[in-house]
Amino acid sequence: MESLLNPWPWYVSGPLIALVMALLLYFGKTFGMSSNLRTLCAIGGAGKISNFFKFNWRDQAWNLTVVLGAIIGGYIAVQYLSNNSGTDLNPKTAAELKTMGFENPGSTLVPNEIFGLDILTTPKGVLLLVIGGLLVGFGTRYADGCTSGHAITGLSSLQKPSLIAVIGFFIGGLIMTNFILPLLF
């Protein structure tokens, strides 16, 4: 039981993520979480403005159900399958984040300095969340997929476009973490 409540090692987690992809393929669908953002646009009536959103969103209801499940899964994991052991970060990472002003790095899943509700009352706090969301939402559709669609499904099926996209993910991520985040914090 203790090993279930502790964070799971990478060699267990990785194959289980592949199992999610395998199950969806077995059910005749594909693993792609970002498509749901497009579906949300279609539900909101974006089809009136762009043909990109002109499709029957009900065909995507299965994927929205996966989203609903993922939300419930997140709740179950923290409520019933956790012992609040925190994330065992590299001490170097933790020290670095502390000097940037992050208190207790790894004690929560996300830093309070970015996601705390009190941060939402500051312009900088709201701006970071909005810009981050915009970049992810725009970038994922432009690149035709996100981590699940390209990094897991695309690489597993040995597709060159997905390799290019994943290289892009890392170029962007490395620039943000190493050069832009230090300017913001």
Partner: protein, 137 residues
Amino acid sequence: MKFLKFLFVGIFFGIVLVKSEAVSWFRIYEMFRFQSFHMYGIIGTAVASGILFLQIAKKGHIKSIKGADIFVPKKDNGLIRYIVGGIIFGFGWALIGACPGPMYILLGTGVWSMIVVIAAATLGTFIYGVLKNKLPH
């Protein structure tokens, strides 16, 4: 209930991503600083298992629930959209530490600010849809 199986896959997905710490902003930061093997181990073993599954499926040993071949849709050929779109996505991923799956999962863990991120990501997708024909692909 044909949707029930998808609900369960989603629940499983949510649990795995929380327990693997792949939804942790700190783990994403650590990954992009090359200070831990953890995330590389997850992605590496996920892709290795995925390749193995699809190779076995390709030989016809695994069929879908309806008895059809396991099918992964092919992405269009291209370069600009994948590299430029990928870089833009990477900026956002590293900034907020969450890609589209974890956004929802973190909402479930009680990170309410994710509502702002999800709304902004939906708007970002909308902006892409409007500009689509003007962008190089």
